[in-house]
């Protein structure tokens, strides 16, 4: 008797909610009303790179709340609906489908993980939902350029080149032998390609070892060992922070002290926190300022103020700054689109964006055929346990 009752209750609840779901799904409009704008996103909120999603989520959310408190955009308040990809493309596709068809968002912004974006593009591209300012970069996102996809960040490929070009001018590094350990998917391979193509330009440099790993791997002892044995003097890590940290510690364990190099997916304070003093001297190339290193610059101070107003405990790290910077760019686009807000008008407005300064990333310029907002990168080195900008 008791069992049947429990089952009845559970079934009843499921059916009831199902019906509710049906009725909710039938209401709705395409993300813009007289009073609200629905902005959706998909970030890495859980999993080993979770601090990226959590930080960016807070950064963006803080800015939107700030804008709402100042009256919104042409009288409309922003409703920010985020979702989790768990760094897995399959989850991202499902989440985006839900955002578009159930939540009926107006636009997407700040999405993370290029692999996830490329997978989800099937859904949002066909639905005509624009994606503004994703918090990631990949060659395939701008090549070929899509009308609805506005990318801000510099590609990992460009970042790696920038770094190699810088190093080629320094006496201590211009004859460097490189080893690369990369994640075995498009994200990791792009960094690898950037480094290899960069090194090809300078005959005195060479890549002597390349090792890969499956996403989510935890053990890198064999890869690091093989790189050490190749005689490499520098180790470029094309991956995310947790794994880079493990590899650095592994190298430390086997007594190998190469010059570590990372790109923007990894260059932040978390790396130092996880890997400790072994990171000393490491190079990090980024497309956004590393806030701990630029605490006194006015844009970083302003961003910190806004974020701490709503999230007083939030660490001001790279993911958080990414979030707020991308939100700033999105809001600027929405402002310029005017009170009669449609997706077409927003795209037009963004195309006319020239040298928009956030102070956190290089100036942003789009154009009728240009969907890559920033060029150039910033180079940092870890000195005395902190990131220091190299000129």
């Amino acid at each position: 008797m008791k069992k049947s009752l429990l089952v009845t209750v559970i079934s009843g609840i499921i059916v009831g909610l199902g019906c509710l779901g049906i009725s909710l799904a039938m209401a709705g409009d395409p993300g813009v009303t007289k009073t609200t704008i629905k902005i959706g996103s998909n970030m890495i909120l859980t999993g080993s790179a979770a601090y990226w999603g959590q930080g960016s989520d807070k950064g963006a959310r803080a800015y939107y709340t700030y804008i709402n408190e100042m009256g919104g955009i042409h009288g409309r308040k922003i409703e920010f609906i985020n979702s989790d990809s768990q760094f897995k493309p399959a989850q991202a596709v499902a989440a985006i489908k839900k955002l578009i068809e159930k939540d009926e968002i107006f636009i997407l912004m700040g999405m993370q993980s290029s692999v996830c974006i490329l997978a989800a593009e099937k859904v949002f591209g066909e639905a005509g939902v624009p994606l503004i300012a994703p918090i990631t970069m990949h060659r395939q996102l701008v090549d070929p350029p899509r009308k609805y996809l506005f990318v801000v960040f510099t590609e990992y490929w460009d970042q790696a080149q920038y770094m190699v070009d810088y190093m080629a001018k320094e006496a201590r590094w211009k004859n460097l032998k490189f080893a690369v350990i990369y994640q075995d998917d498009d994200f990791g391979k792009e960094g690898l390609a950037g480094l290899e193509d960069g090194v090809k330009k300078y005959p005195s440099m060479q890549v002597v070892a390349k090792e890969s790993f499956a996403p989510g791997a935890k053990d890198f002892s064999s890869q690091v060992l093989k790189c050490k044995q190749s005689g490499a003097q520098g180790l470029f890590l094309s991956c995310v922070t947790a794994q880079a940290a493990m590899m650095i510690k592994e190298a430390e364990k086997i007594g190998w002290k190469p010059l570590f190099m990372v790109h923007s997916a990894t260059a932040d304070d978390k790396l130092i926190e996880l890997a400790g003093p072994a990171t000393e001297g490491a190079l990090g190339v980024t497309n956004v300022v590393i806030p701990s290193s630029e605490k006194d610059s006015p844009p970083v101070k302003k961003a910190t103020e806004i974020i701490h107003k709503y999230y007083p405990d939030q660490a001001i790290d790279v993911p958080t700054i990414d979030g707020i910077a991308m939100a700033m760019i999105t809001v600027e686009g929405l402002k310029k689109a005017g009170p009669d807000l449609t997706r077409v008008k927003l795209i037009e407005a963004l195309e006319n964006m020239k040298n928009f300064e956030t102070g956190l990333v290089p100036p942003v310029t789009f154009g009728p055929n240009n969907r890559q907002g920033c060029r150039g990168a910033l180079l940092y080195q870890i000195q005395g346990g902190k990131f220091v900008r190299l000129k």
Binding site: A242, E252, K253, G276
Partner: protein, 289 residues
């Protein structure tokens, strides 16, 4: 390079050995496979994180309460979840432990979040060298503490009344209860010990691998392979299986492509089960329906 790989393999092998031991212990005692074993490792590691960061105790002083807490936690799980289902079908029990495993992962995610966290340890960054070969101090700690745990365990099992009672229950539950041994109490004890053994594994490995919500499940699979390798049902086998698996994994990693390396525990598992289901040390006829 081979020796370097082997020494690395010994450390992870110790962890596999401990968890395999915990698995086999529960299996021998209650004839069930504890799919939540990995999560017992994880929760213990997080307990130690909380203790070491909140109470600011030094590493070793923080270890002990964490291990005890883990044991108590395992005990609670046994009471609340396992007791009611212990007489059901094998399936139900397996699923119940899986339910526990998912719940623990969810709770850890809710409480601590998903960021990888390092466990503060005084041994981080220090190494021991013999000529060209290096072993990190933490790995040494893992090996030493595991051997120590195994020794204590051996003494307990063979030398104390409770330990002997556990052996009897493992062999023959019916007979044991006829002798007046409280099977329920012994099962509870088994779980508690399993939890504590798992705790030591988790706490010693965390400074190297970082604490993450998902760390338990992977360890579980490897530990299971290790236990099967050694002969599921044999405690000595589980331990040797653990070290063997760690070494085999490390060595193959050094000479073979990446994709193959991750498959090693599973391929080994299938190979062993097909060729010699009783493992290296198992007794014949241990099969179940």
């Amino acid at each position: 390079m081979l020796i370097q790989l082997i020494t690395g393999g010994l450390a992870i092998g110790s962890v596999y050995a401990l968890i395999a031991l915990a698995l086999v212990l529960i299996y021998k005692g209650s004839r069930l496979l504890n799919l939540a074993q990995g999560e017992l490792v994880t929760i213990a590691a997080y307990f130690s994180l909380a203790i070491l960061t909140q109470a600011r105790l030094p590493y070793l002083a923080g270890l002990v309460p964490a291990v005890i807490l883990a044991g108590v936690f395992a005990l609670i799980v046994e009471r609340i979840v396992i007791r009611p289902v212990v007489s059901s079908e094998e399936w139900s029990i397996l699923l119940a432990t899986w339910g526990v495993s998912i719940t623990i992962r969810g709770l850890i995610g809710l409480i601590w979040g998903h960021e990888p966290r390092p466990l503060p340890s005084p041994f981080t960054g220090q190494h021991l060298h013999w000529g060209a070969y290096a072993l990190s101090a933490q790995e040494m700690v893992i090996i030493v503490t595991s051997l120590f745990m195994l020794l204590i365990f051996y003494l307990f099992f063979k030398g104390t009344k409770a330990g002997l009672a556990m052996q009897v229950v493992a062999d023959n539950q019916m007979g044991a209860s006829l002798c007046g041994i409280s099977v329920g109490r012994i099962n509870a004890l088994t779980w508690m010990i399993s939890g504590m053994v798992a705790a030591v594994a988790g706490i010693t490995i965390s400074p190297i691998f970082f604490l993450q919500v998902e760390m338990g499940f992977e360890l579980l699979l490897s530990a299971f392979s290790a236990a099967v390798l050694g002969g599921f049902g044999s405690i000595v086998g589980a331990i040797i299986g653990g070290y063997l698996l760690g070494i085999i994994q490390a060595v193959t990693g050094g000479y073979m492509p990446e994709a193959i390396k991750s498959s090693v525990p599973f391929a080994l598992l299938i190979l062993v089960l097909v060729i010699r289901p009783t493992g290296l040390f198992g007794k014949a006829g241990v099969e179940k329906k």
